[in-house]
């Protein structure tokens, strides 16, 4: 151990001397050196720098190997679909069980290839000991808290895989800026319906009434420029947007003119500065459309999405799903409306259940411990 540390120290000393040499102010005589001489001097130092870097890396490898040997950490490497998982010793069965369930249920149907997944590695049960395992590209620990119930752990695995998959779209600017949320997060039909139904937008209301072109507009598809704002919101709604938002400073005259003097042209001017920000339906709702497109596309859908990632969102969705935009929007709207919550669903049945329990506890009262009078 002392020998390796000495080697490491020598390597760092050499590196430091090279850096200092370059930083030492040049003497008057050196100032007269030509550019070619300076370049030659730098080139002559390069082998020293390379040697120092190699020494430093060797020292780090030796140190890592020493720590690994001491920790005696055994691991198993699993392959589940496109996922590569390094599991701690004794946890591989559990890892395979959970990861296979998640992959089969949520990803296998349409993720056939993914550069992000293929270059990533997950760990299971290693926790902080990941640094002892040679996993330079390790992405995430899948089993963060062991004592959580299984559904919560599956949720974490699902989220971790979705986060890595989203990197495939990192450079797909049109699509990424449109969807902005992962399509693999759980779809909550009641929550989504409430969000849509309470959005103050005329386009959304028309969409709920059945106008598919309004659904496209509300989702930020097929509409560009200033016309988008006019199709999304009525005059009163645009004014309300300005009042509710943080546009302009508190003392901004334009804001006051819009809100109090009802100057709709001023309101439009404030909103038009970044009209995409006012798309009625948020990223989570748009991601549900992408999710539907992937489900409709079936096997290979994710690969087709990567092929079409540079296109406009509406074209990409059509390419992924194999459906034209109207058919896809129709399916999406049907799913949305089907998710409408019944505020007091099954109240009749639940009332009978409550009555059953009331009578149950009343019966217990009749059969309780015997009263005694002192």
């Amino acid at each position: 151990m002392r020998a390796t540390r000495a080697t490491g120290a020598a390597a760092w000393t050499l590196l430091a001397s090279v850096v200092l040499t370059l930083l030492v102010p040049a003497s008057p005589a050196a100032a007269q050196l030509t550019e070619a001489d300076l370049l030659h001097r730098l080139d002559s130092l390069q082998p020293l720098l390379d040697a120092a870097t190699r020494q430093s890396q060797e020292w780090q490898e030796e140190e890592r190997a020493r720590v690994r040997a001491q920790a005696s950490l055994a691991t198993d490497t699993l392959r589940v679909g496109l996922l590569r998982v390094i599991a701690a010793e004794g946890r591989s069965e559990q890892a395979r069980d959970i990861v296979e369930a998640i992959w089969t249920e949520h990803y296998a149907a349409f993720v056939d290839r993914s550069p992000a997944l293929e270059s990533a590695t997950f760990t299971f049960g290693l926790g902080d000991r990941r640094s002892f395992v040679l996993v330079p590209e390790a992405t995430q620990e899948l089993d963060v808290v062991r004592w959580l119930p299984r559904p919560r752990r599956e949720e974490h695995v699902r989220g971790a895989v979705a986060a890595v998959l989203s990197r495939d779209l990192a450079n797909a600017l049109p699509l990424q800026s449109w969807v902005s949320e992962s399509p693999f997060l759980p779809y909550r039909p009641e929550w989504t319906y409430r969000l849509v139904a309470t959005t103050p937008s005329q386009a959304v209301r028309r969409c709920l009434s059945g106008a598919l072109e309004s659904c496209a507009a509300a989702l930020g598809l097929e509409v560009e420029g200033d016309a988008a704002l006019l199709s999304w919101y009525s005059e009163e709604e645009r004014r309300y947007l300005v009042m509710r938002s943080d546009i302009g400073s508190v003392g901004d005259v334009r804001r006051r003119k819009c809100a109090e003097e009802r100057r709709i042209d001023i309101c439009d001017e404030l909103l038009a500065a970044d009209h995409r920000r006012w798309t009625p339906l948020p990223g989570t709702v748009r991601a549900s459309l992408l999710r539907l497109a992937l489900e409709s596309g079936g096997q290979g859908a994710w690969g087709r999405l990567l092929e079409a990632s540079e296109r406009a969102p509406e074209e990409a969705l059509a390419h992924v799903s194999g459906l034209d935009s109207r058919a896809l929007l129709f399916e999406w709207r049907v799913r949305l409306v089907d998710g409408r919550p019944e505020a007091y669903a099954a109240l009749g049945g639940r009332s009978l259940l409550a009555l059953f329990w009331i009578l149950f506890f009343a019966t217990l009262a009749m059969r309780s411990t015997r009263w005694r009078s002192r």
Binding site: R146, W147, P149, A197, L208, L353, A362, L364, A365
Partner: protein, 228 residues
């Protein structure tokens, strides 16, 4: 026999019930107080999202109030019996189960008072505002759930209060022990049995109790007066 039991319970509780009846009437009105379209706005859709969001913080008070009313009715039902060692009950020419049934019925009748107050308050609240498009009021459903929650809370504590203090302590201790020590025991057993490693017993028990067909589902359901 029912009327004297009802009168006795009413006499016991009439003063204490007044603030709960007022609270039941006022809670729906307080929940929608200040909610609506912003000044000068004509469109009733404008505040729908914020309407729902503004009402949400009040929803927890409905089941809490129902539980408190039920508890008060149950404890007051047995107060005099415990104080006088059940002499009155034991001296009556009725069987135990008949006595308990009459007492339970009397308390359940009194439970309709705060429920009726809430029903009235909910209708007044719904009538006093213009609902945004897409939202609906559910005053009848809310009042029914409120009544069931009161009755369930009443029944549970009525059963516990019908026994001795020792019985009550046993029940409460078991429940507390499950919550406090169940998690520790699950973690310990998880090292030996795969079932406990895969399942959080305490969480499963709580989920069963608070969701259908468990007994306390009525408390954890939807308490919205206004919804889509």
């Amino acid at each position: 026999m029912y009327q004297p039991m009802l009168y006795l319970h009413w006499k016991q509780i009439r003063v204490g019930l007044i603030p709960f009846v007022i609270a039941s009437f006022g809670l729906p009105l307080m929940a929608i107080d200040g909610v609506g379209a912003p000044p000068g706005a004509d469109g009733t859709m404008l505040g729908a999202y914020h309407f729902i969001a503004s009402v949400q913080p009040w929803l927890i008070f409905f089941p809490v109030l129902a539980g408190a009313i039920g508890a008060m009715l149950a404890l007051s039902a047995w107060n005099w019996d415990h104080r006088h060692d059940h002499v009155y009950a034991l001296s009556l020419p009725v069987t135990r189960w008949e006595y308990v049934t009459l007492k339970m019925g009397a308390g359940a009748s009194l439970a309709t008072l705060p429920a009726a107050a809430l029903w009235l308050g909910a209708h007044m609240a719904a009538a006093s505002i213009t609902l945004p498009v897409g939202l609906h009021a559910y005053p009848n459903q809310l009042a029914l759930r409120f009544l069931l929650a009161i009755l369930l809370s009443y029944a549970v504590l009525f059963a516990m209060a019908a026994g001795t203090i020792r019985t009550t302590l046993w029940v409460v201790s078991i429940a507390a022990g499950l919550v406090v020590f169940g998690a520790v025991a699950t973690d310990l057993l998880g090292g030996f049995y795969d079932l406990f490693d895969r399942t959080n017993v305490v969480l499963v028990a709580l989920q069963w109790l608070t969701r259908a067909p468990g007994p306390f589902e009525v408390f954890t359901g939807n308490w919205s007066l206004i919804d889509v």
